[in-house]
């Protein structure tokens, strides 16, 4: 496949042969035909809520796929496809346009909760993207850049940040052992952008006396971006690298604060053998609280209350579809911090939680759309009277922070005052110990 990709890159200026999607049938063929086109999914799709385009809804995309893989009909055979198309006023569908439509999705899987014919959308969209890329259709340029950045030995992350910067936030302050029973897999988002999460996690783990270490600069992007954007050919290499590094440190447990990393590492099983256990930081923090190993000595600021908890799609719903979702653990943590009076809930929570907008690699495909989705969520939080949005995913945190900045900018000249804070669950814990 790698060869295939290079060939395509070489021939960009030449006219490419249209991939034969009719012959190379996609995965989940049953689902494509089973779809009733009832449009129930439109009602829960955050993208449709913002854009209103049928082509950006699960229903529209399934119909599109059904069209792309359909064989010639009787009149095509009798009259020839070109004449039949003219007679029925149809035309060729641009595969690049189709690709943007398919990629304009946060992969939040909320469509699965309401699907009339039970399509496994949490797998479906990833598999379809993979199938399209394998057929030689180019994904949106920004996602290709991210793929290349991850593959680049100088970066090993999608953001084009240097490897050396990965551990600079904590390198000097925390002297972590070379070998330990637990590895904290930080993830690119926390390493480079939402580093507060990383510092909070280190603080919590150290104060609980855990024997842990990190992969330092040896850590490579978990590969979640590759799985989301259908560019799987590098994934095995990523899996091997990270597993090798974890094994090198003699760890039996791996903890990560990023749901995307969590899911990606789970997928490593298909490519490499390993036998360490995987945890999300909230699971560990909950255990530490239960065992009384965390002492809440400081108070959570009154003026940042009440807080509202947002269920990250990948930690909750998607994980629930894959194995078991983490819904109650973060709430348990928040409810057990003495100085937090009340944890508010969004009207759509747990399995029905609405995506923050930042998932599925959409930030790279249509950034403005993602922040529109987030602002609707922020408005909901304001209406409920919340002062802090708490999530358990660095990507959600980044997304909310961005949207709050944009909203502030918009409201610069208005008389209304707008204040909203975003924190990760682990930030809240760290603040109170």
């Amino acid at each position: 496949m790698e060869k295939n990709r290079k060939e395509i890159a070489k021939n960009t200026n030449q006219k490419e042969a249209r991939p034969n999607l009719v012959k190379n049938k996609p995965p989940h063929l049953d689902d494509i035909y089973a779809c009733l086109q009832c449009g129930y999914c439109n009602s829960v799709c955050p993208i449709y809520r913002e854009t209103g385009w049928e082509s950006l809804t699960p229903r529209g995309k399934v119909y599109l796929l059904r069209h792309l893989i359909s064989k010639n009909s009787i009149i095509d055979k009798v009259l020839g496809k070109k004449i039949a198309d003219i007679l029925t006023s149809r035309g060729k569908i641009s595969l690049e346009e189709a690709m943007i439509k398919i990629y304009t999705c946060t992969l939040c899987s909320r469509c699965e909760t309401i699907c009339h014919v039970d399509i496994d959308f949490h797998e479906y969209w990833e598999q379809i993207r993979k199938w399209m890329v394998e057929n030689g259709i180019k994904p949106p340029p920004n996602t290709i850049d991210m793929y290349n950045n991850i593959a680049n030995e100088g970066y090993k992350n999608p953001f084009m940040e240097p490897v050396s910067k990965r551990d600079e936030w904590y390198r000097d302050e925390y002297k972590l052992p070379e070998k330990a029973d637990i590895v904290y897999f930080i993830g690119c988002m926390s390493s480079y952008h939402e580093y507060q999460i990383l510092l909070s996690t280190l603080k919590v783990f150290t104060s609980a006396g855990l024997n842990f270490t990190t992969l330092g600069t040896d850590e490579m992007c978990c590969g979640a971006i590759n799985t989301m954007t259908g560019q799987w050919d590098n994934f095995k290499k990523i899996a091997e690298n990270n597993v090798r590094q974890i094994k090198k440190r003699g760890a039996t447990k791996v903890i990560t604060g990023c749901p995307a990393c969590y899911r990606a590492i789970k997928k490593y099983h298909k490519f490499v053998d390993f036998n360490f256990e995987l945890f999300h930081t909230t699971q560990i923090a909950a255990i530490l609280i239960k065992k009384g190993r965390l002492k809440f000595t400081k108070k959570f600021d009154e003026k940042n209350q009440p807080i509202i908890y947002h269920d990250p799609c990948e930690l909750g719903r998607v994980m629930e579809y894959e194995s078991k979702g983490i819904f109650e653990t973060p709430r348990y943590i928040l409810n057990n911090i003495p100085s937090i009076n009340k944890v508010l809930e969004f009207p759509n929570n747990r399995m029905d939680s609405i995506c923050c907008g930042g998932g599925g690699g959409l930030r790279a495909v249509n950034y403005n759309l993602t922040t529109d989705i987030t602002q609707r969520k922020i408005d909901e939080a304001i209406e409920l009277g919340a002062s802090t949005i708490v999530s358990a995913c660095p990507n959600c945190k980044a997304q909310f922070s961005d949207a709050i900045e944009i909203k502030k900018e918009k409201m610069k000249d208005s008389k209304e005052k707008f204040k909203m804070k975003v924190m990760d669950v682990i930030d809240v814990v760290a603040k109170c110990i």
Binding site: A34, C38, G52, S55, D76, R90, E96, H116, F159, Y367
Partner: protein, 522 residues
């Protein structure tokens, strides 16, 4: 600053990317973008494809007869946009087809003559919830389930909503003259509307009622003209509905019957009392057999009647007790509460069996409640004669009317067999006519029935149509006359003969079988 972090750079990248795929624009595109803005118009083949169909799958051959592909798709923001578009369309004689959720099976929102698709599904705001005088004003694209949930969370109840509430829009249901869940107690959509804002074909914006009080006084009732008009008279851009205080309790109950005929008798008896449940639905045992084939956990039973009560708990207690007695007379046994609750949550999901085909054909028709048993027998016979696997399901729309949504599985990948299966709809309609009922809708395919029902009234309808829409650009080819793209109307009898031929074909063909597949449990 990285690329992922820099919105501006990203926006630039994006626009470069989309420039590559942008095609040369047409004049109509430029004119429409002047009215609504660039990001709300599309004439790409991809978008046109997605707006060329509804729930019913149409073979490409059908587009030889009807120009189902729109030339352009527009998403208006408000009545002013719609008005501008209509003015432009009249001047240039371009057909306009309004579209809501496109969750119907009759092709009401599928263009017959191409032209402009007016996608009102994107106008999704709830504009006003008036708590003092109990009404709600919404845009036409508001989803029924969203409206129901939102109002219920604020302590109000929407009277009735369609059984496809998660997919259907308010405007769409008004245009198809909807009845559905809750209609038994609160009536159909016609009884719930206070006022409509409508844009006529020449761009005039009118209001048909008075949002604060009811419509009953002298003066022609304009609101009712638009109810069930299938978008042929004007574009509805705002709907004001009356709402009710949320009931203390909504209590679903279910009763098991040895067969559907007994269930029909019991329903008939119940509707002759003063007990007014919120909703009454009936499902044949074969529905649950099909669910079991899908790998779902469904009971083996003769038939089910779901009766949902709403109101004060103490009054529901009395009604429930009396209902139980009536049901018992016809061998109906009350199920456990969990089953009834589950049935209530599944009320929107009656077409799951489609996966078995893959394909599903639904024949929607109304029959008098007094003839419900005949209709049940007739529908079951039709399924048997056409050798189709399906189930007779439906609900009671009001004390006179039972609505049947009988469905059968087909296989879309086998074109001829699938076409022949369409005969089911015609045959069920015939059964409905036999017992004094009528079909559920007309849309693109069944306008021939209009004359059968209304006789010379159709001529009056034609006059009304030409008054509202003298240029015949509002959803042309529907309802009043079934016109093909070549301007030749299809007379009702021709459609009828065609359908009968399909029925004979289907009876000759081997019986439908469901391939045994393993379905994972969910």
């Amino acid at each position: 600053m990285t690329e992922l972090d820099n919105p501006q750079k990203k926006a630039e990248n994006k626009s470069n990317y989309s420039k590559d795929i942008e095609e040369v624009t047409s004049e109509i595109y430029r004119n429409l973008t002047d009215i609504v803005g660039k990001d709300r118009v599309s004439e790409s083949n991809l978008d046109r494809l997605l707006y060329s169909h509804d729930l019913a799958p149409l073979p490409k051959e059908m587009s030889l007869l009807f120009k189902t592909f729109p030339d352009i798709v527009v998403k208006p923001r408000n009545a002013t946009d719609v008005s501008g578009i209509m003015k432009y369309a009249v001047e240039n004689n371009i057909p306009v087809t309004p579209r809501g959720g496109a969750s119907w099976t009759f092709g009401g929102s599928v263009p017959a003559l191409g032209g402009i698709i007016l996608d009102l599904g994107s106008m999704q705001e709830i504009l006003e919830i008036n708590k003092e005088n109990l009404f709600v004003t919404v845009e036409p694209g508001v989803n029924w389930k969203y409206l129901y949930d939102t109002l219920l969370s604020k302590g109000f109840l929407i009277g009735a909503y369609p059984s496809s509430a998660p997919g259907a829009t308010v405007g769409g249901w008004v245009n198809t003259g909807g009845v559905g869940i809750g209609s038994y107690k609160y009536g159909g959509i016609d009884r719930l509307i206070r006022s409509l804002e409508v844009v006529l074909s020449d761009g005039t914006i009118i209001t048909t009622g008075c949002k604060n009080v009811l419509n009953n006084s002298s003066g022609y009732n304009l609101t009712d003209l638009f109810v069930g008009s299938e978008g042929t008279l004007g574009v509805i851009t705002k709907v004001t509905l009356k709402i009710f205080p949320a009931p203390q309790e909504i209590r679903p109950t279910s009763f098991v019957f040895p067969d559907l005929e007994k269930a029909g008798e019991a329903i008939h008896a119940l509707t002759r009392t003063n007990i007014t449940p919120y909703h009454i639905a009936f499902l044949d045992g074969t529905h649950f057999d099909l669910l079991r084939e899908l790998g779902k956990n469904a009971p083996k039973i003769g038939a089910i009647v779901d009766i949902i009560f709403s109101g004060d708990s103490s009054i529901i207690d009395i009604h429930e007790k009396n209902t139980k007695e009536i049901m018992a007379k016809y061998d109906g046994k009350k199920t456990i509460k969990e089953f009834a609750d589950f049935e209530w949550t599944e009320r929107f999901f009656e077409s799951k069996a489609r996966r078995l085909g893959p394909g599903l054909i639904v024949g929607e028709c109304f029959c008098p409640v007094s003839k419900i048993v005949d209709m049940i027998k007739g529908s079951q016979d039709v399924l048997k004669k056409l050798k189709m696997k399906g189930a007779v399901v439906g609900y009671i729309a009001d004390q006179n009317t039972a609505s049947f949504m009988t469905y059968a599985i087909s296989n879309e990948q086998k074109i001829i067999k699938n076409m022949a299966s369409l005969a089911l709809v015609k045959k069920l309609t015939d059964e409905a006519f036999k017992v004094g009922g009528r079909p559920g809708g007309f849309g693109l395919y069944f306008s021939g029935n209009l004359k059968k029902i209304h006789g010379k009234g159709v001529l009056v309808m034609d006059d009304i149509k030409s008054t509202f829409d003298p240029h015949y650009i509002m959803n042309p080819g529907k309802l009043i006359e079934n016109t093909t793209r070549f301007g030749i109307p299809i007379p009702g009898f021709a459609m009828s003969i065609g359908m009968n031929v399909l029925a004979i074909l289907k009876r000759i063909m081997p019986a439908d079988k469901i391939e045994k597949k393993k379905y994972g449990k969910k």
